[in-house]
C-alpha cells in the first residue's frame, strides 16, 4: 500500500540547503510553507479562543432575562468582535493554513509557487489581527456588527475610532486573503508533480483551487464596501450617506456579494477535508470523483448568485428577489451530490471509527440540518418571518460552526501527526468529539425555536413576559460545554507534543502524497519528486516511483539534485510536463518588513495622521523595490 520513502542522497547537503536560521531570525524570515501553514493554524486558533470566549460572555448575559452583566454598549461590541474574529481571523485563515501546509505536499512539490508571498500573506494576517485586536485591548471595539451596515456605521451615528478598526482591519486582512488565493491557484496549476493531471488531483486540492478562485472574485467586493465606508468616515465622502445622495442598499449589495460566497469559501475546503477523511476511513476511493469535483466548481459559481437572500426584507421588488430565491434553492443540488458521494463511499467501504472520522460523521448530521434550514430561509416569504432572528443564528452556526469547524477539528486529528510527528490521543479525541457534538446541538438547536418565538438577533436583553427565558438558559448552559469540548482538543494537542506516540510516515494508510514523506515532514518535503500514475498514488499496487533528474533543463530539479539545490519543478498546467524549475527563495525578512510597512499605513489612517500613513507608504515602496530587486538567491 504505502510507498517507500527515498532517503536523501546526501542528507547533509539537503538539510543545509533548506534549514531556516535558528531562533527569532528564522521565525521572522522563514518562507517554508509548512512553518507558515502551521503558524497560520495556531494563530487562527488563538482568535478562535478569543472569539469563543466573547461568545460565552454574551451567553452569560442572555442566560436570564433583564440580566445586568453587560450593558447594551458592551454587548454590541462583543457580538461585533465575535463575528468579525470568527469569520475574518479564524475560519478563513485556518483553512488557508491547512491549505498552505497540505497543497504543496499533496501535489508533490517542495514549496508553494510564491514562497515569499506566502510569508507576506501570513504576516499581513497576523498584523491585521493584532490591528483589530488592539480595539479589544484599548476598549474601542467596533459595535456595528460584523456586517457593519450603514448608515449606523456612518460617522454621524457612530463617531469614534471603533468602526475604523473594523473598516481598516477588513481591508488590511483582505490583502492577505487575496495574495494567498493567487498563490494557491498558481501553485495548483503550475507545481503539480509529473503525472498528476487535473483529473488525478486530490479532491482537497480541487477544493482549495475553488477556494482560491472564489476569494479572488469575492474579496474585492468587501474591500470596496469597507474601503468606501472608510472614505466616508475618514475623508468625508458620502457613498453611503443617504442625506448626501449616498445609497444604503449599495453597501448591503457589496457586502453580501462577498458575504455569501464567503460562506462557501469556508465550506468548500471543509468538504475537501471531509471527502479526504471519509474515503481514507472507509478504506476505499471516494465515490463519484468527477461528480464531487464538478459539484465543488458548481457551488463556487452558483454561490455568486444568491447574495440577495440576505436582503429579502429590504423591500426590493419581489420579481427581482425571486431569482435569488431560486438560485439559493438550486445550490442544494450540488450539495446533495457531495452528500451522497460521501454516503456511497461509506456504504460500500469498511468504516473505521477514528476520531477524525467521528468529526466527519458529526459534520454530516450537522451539515444536513444546516442545509435543510438553508432551504427554508431560501424560501423568500418564509424568510420574511425568520430573517434577523435566532432562527438564522441557529442556521448559520449549523453551517459555519458545525459544517466548517467540525471538519477542521477532524483535520487537526488527521493531519497533526504529519505536522508534528506525533499522534493525538484517540481517547481524549473521542471525548472532545462527543462533548462538542452533544453540546453543539443543545446550544444551537433551541435557537431555531427562539427565532420562531420572535427573538430578534443582536438583543442584549429581553423581558421575561416574552417567554424566551427557559430556552435561553438551556442554550447558555450548553454553550459552556461546547467550549469545554473544544478545550479538550487543545489539551490533546499540547499533550501530544510531549507524550504523543510517534507518527509513522503514513499512520492512516492513506492515499495522498503528503503521506509519502516522513512525519514530521522534512524541510524539503520530497527528496525526489513523486511520479503520479493514478488518483490514489499510495494505494496503487507496487511502490510509488520517484522522478530522476534529467539532463533536459526542464527536469533538473525532479530528482534528489533538486532537493540539494533548493529547487522544485514546475510543470505544464494540464498534462504536467516538466517545464522548468523554481529556485525556492532563501529565508528573507522582506515580506515581514513589507507587511509592517503596510501596517504603518493602516495605523496612520486609523489615527488620522497623514505623516504616519505617508511614511508607511514610503516604507512599503522601499520594501517592494527591495523585494523586486533581490533575486531569490540573495539572503536578505
Amino acid at each position: 500500500m504505502s510507498a517507500e520513502i527515498t532517503p536523501p542522497a546526501d542528507p547533509h547537503a539537503v538539510s543545509s540547503a533548506w534549514e531556516d536560521p535558528a531562533g527569532i531570525v528564522g521565525f521572522l524570515t522563514s518562507v517554508d510553507h509548512k512553518r507558515i501553514g502551521v503558524r497560520y493554524i495556531y494563530t487562527a486558533f488563538v482568535f478562535f479562543v478569543i472569539a469563543g470566549l466573547l461568545a460565552l460572555v454574551m451567553r452569560a448575559q442572555l442566560a436570564e432575562p433583564k440580566n445586568h452583566l453587560l450593558g447594551p454598549g458592551a454587548y454590541n461590541q462583543l457580538f461585533t468582535m465575535h463575528g468579525t474574529l470568527m469569520i475574518f481571523f479564524f475560519n478563513t485563515p485556518v483553512l488557508a493554513g491547512f491549505g498552505n501546509y497540505l497543497v504543496p505536499l499533496m501535489i508533490g512539490s517542495r514549496d508553494m509557487a510564491f514562497p515569499r508571498l506566502n510569508a507576506f500573506s501570513y504576516w499581513i494576517f497576523v498584523l491585521s489581527g493584532l490591528f483589530i485586536g488592539a480595539s479589544l485591548v484599548s476598549g474601542h471595539m467596533p459595535d456595528g456588527g460584523w456586517f457593519a451596515y450603514v448608515p449606523y456605521t456612518n460617522p454621524t451615528f457612530n463617531p469614534g475610532v471603533g468602526m475604523d478598526f473594523w473598516g481598516l482591519g477588513v481591508v488590511f486582512t483582505g490583502i492577505s486573503t487575496t495574495v494567498g488565493a493567487v498563490n494557491f491557484i498558481v501553485t495548483i496549476f503550475k507545481m503539480r508533480a509529473p503525472g498528476m493531471t487535473l483529473n488525478r488531483m486530490p479532491i482537497y486540492v480541487w477544493s482549495m483551487l475553488v477556494f482560491g478562485f472564489m476569494v479572488i472574485f469575492a474579496v474585492p467586493a468587501i474591500t470596496l464596501a469597507a474601503g468606501l465606508l472608510e472614505l466616508d468616515r475618514l475623508f468625508g465622502t458620502r457613498f453611503f450617506d443617504p442625506t448626501g445622495g449616498g445609497n444604503v442598499l449599495l453597501y448591503q449589495h457589496l457586502f453580501w456579494f462577498w458575504g455569501h460566497p464567503e460562506v462557501y469559501i469556508l465550506f468548500i475546503p471543509a468538504t475537501g477535508m471531509v471527502s479526504t477523511m471519509i474515503a481514507v476511513f472507509s478504506r476505499r476511493k471516494l465515490a463519484g470523483y468527477l461528480w464531487v469535483a464538478t459539484a465543488l466548481v458548481g457551488v463556487g459559481f452558483i454561490s455568486f448568485g444568491v447574495w440577495v437572500h440576505h436582503m429579502f426584507a429590504t423591500g426590493m421588488p419581489a420579481m427581482a428577489m425571486s431569482f435569488f430565491s431560486a438560485a439559493s434553492l438550486i445550490i442544494a443540488i450540488p450539495s446533495g451530490v457531495l452528500f451522497f458521494a460521501w454516503i456511497a463511499t461509506m456504504w460500500s467501504g469498511r468504516v473505521t471509527f477514528t476520531t477524525p472520522m467521528l468529526f466527519c460523521i458529526g459534520f454530516l448530521v450537522i451539515f444536513l440540518l444546516g442545509g435543510v434550514t438553508g432551504v427554508m430561509v431560501a424560501v423568500m416569504p418564509f424568510d420574511w418571518q425568520v430573517t434577523d432572528t435566532y432562527f438564522v443564528v441557529a442556521h448559520f452556526h449549523y453551517v459555519l460552526n458545525g459544517a466548517v469547524v467540525f471538519p477542521i477539528f477532524g483535520a487537526l486529528y488527521y493531519w497533526m501527526p504529519k505536522m508534528t510527528g506525533r499522534m493525538l490521543s484517540e481517547r481524549l479525541g473521542r471525548w472532545s468529539f462527543w462533548v462538542m457534538f452533544v453540546a453543539f446541538n443543545i446550544t444551537f438547536f433551541p435557537m431555531h425555536l427562539l427565532g420562531m418565538e420572535g427573538m430578534p438577533r443582536r438583543v442584549y436583553t429581553y423581558d421575561p413576559s416574552l417567554g424566551w427565558d427557559h430556552l435561553n438558559l438551556l442554550v447558555s448552559a450548553a454553550s459552556g460545554f461546547f467550549g469545554l469540548g473544544t478545550g479538550l482538543t487543545f489539551v490533546n494537542i499540547a499533550w501530544s507534543r510531549f507524550r504523543g506516540a510517534p507518527a509513522t510516515a503514513d499512520p492512516w494508510a492513506a492515499d495522498t502524497l503528503e503521506w509519502a514523506t516522513a512525519s514530521p515532514t522534512p524541510h524539503h518535503n520530497f527528496t525526489a519528486i513523486p511520479v503520479v500514475a493514478s488518483r490514489h498514488p499510495l494505494w496503487d499496487k507496487g511502490a510509488l516511483t520517484w522522478a530522476e533528474t534529467t539532463d533536459d533543463p526542464a527536469g533538473r530539479s525532479l530528482g534528489p539534485d533538486g532537493a540539494r539545490t533548493r529547487t522544485t519543478p514546475w510543470t505544464s498546467g494540464a498534462d504536467t510536463r516538466p517545464e522548468g524549475h523554481l529556485r525556492v527563495p532563501l529565508d528573507t525578512v522582506v515580506p515581514f518588513l513589507l507587511a509592517c510597512a503596510i501596517g504603518v499605513v493602516f495605523l496612520g489612517l486609523l489615527v488620522d495622521r497623514s505623516v504616519i500613513w505617508g511614511l508607511g507608504l514610503a516604507l512599503a515602496a522601499v520594501n517592494g523595490l527591495l523585494w523586486a530587486w533581490r533575486t531569490e538567491l540573495d539572503a536578505v
Binding site: L329, A341, W347, G467
Partner: protein, 301 residues
Amino acid sequence: MLLAAAGPSILHGDGSESHRLVGVWWLLLGLAVVVVIVVVGLVVVALVRRPGPSSLGDDWWIAAGGVALPVVVLLVVAVATVDATAHLRIRKPDELRVEVVGRRWWWDVRYPGTGVVTANEIHVPVGRPLDIGLDSDNVTHSFWLPDLAGKVDLIPGQHNDLRFTVRQAGVYQGLCAEYCGLEHAKMHFLLVAESPARFETWLAGQRAGALDATGRTVFEQSACAGCHTVRGTEAVGTKGPDLTHLASRQTLAGDTVDNTAAELRAWITDPQSLKRGALMPAVPLSRAQLDAIVAYLRGLR
C-alpha cells in the same frame, strides 16, 4: 409587556401573511423531517452494515440521492414559494394607511388625513387590509409583528410598504428586527387590533387635541416641550414621541415598561436607568414640577 400569556410566535398565524406562512412552514418542516430521516437513516445504515460492495453503483447513488431527491423536493418548495409570494403583500381596495417612521429607539405612528400622531402603539381594525408605510430618517430598522406578518426594513432614503390584514382581534407584540444601535433590544411596539367600531372611536379620541388638564403650563415651560408635541398646546417639539394622548397608551419608552404613574415618574427622572442609550435627557426638575408633569401626562387620555 402586556402579553404575559405566551409571547409572540410565527406559528400563531393571526394575520393574513403569517397565516399563509404557517402553511408554508408545515410544508417545509414536513419535507425537512422526511429528508432528515431518510438521509440520516442512510448514513447510519452505511456505518453499521456489514462491509461489502453496494448493489447500487456509486453513480446511481449520487444520481438518485444527490440529484433526483433534491430536485423533487426543491420543485415542491419552489411551487410553494411562488404561490406564497404571489398572494402576499399585494395592494387591496379600501386599505387603511398607517405611516410608521423608525426613530432611535421608538416608533412614530401617523394616520394620514386624520392628523392623528401617536407612538409605539398602532391601532387597526380587524379584517381591513392595511398598508403600513415604513420610513426612517436615521439608521435602518425592521418592522416585525411575528404573529401577523414577516419583516420589512425601514431604510433611510427608501420608502417601503407592508400590506396585510389582521384576522383576529388582540394586542400583538411588535419588534425592531434590524440592529439599529444601542437600544435595539428595547425598540418594541404594540399593535392593537380591534373591531372597526372600536377603532373608529379610538381614532376620534386621538384626533382631538389634548385635554386642558392642570400642569399644562409647567409642561409647556419645561424642557419637555422642546422635544415633545402635545397637540393643542404650545409644546410642539418633534425629536421625541407625540404625547397628546399618552395616558391612552399601554406602555412607555418603546414598549419597555407598563404605563403606570410610578414607571412614568421613574422614566422622566432618569431615562437612562431604564434604557441606557435613550436619547431623552434627564431634565432637572423640582419635585413640585415633576409632580405636576406626571399628573398632567397621566391626564392626557
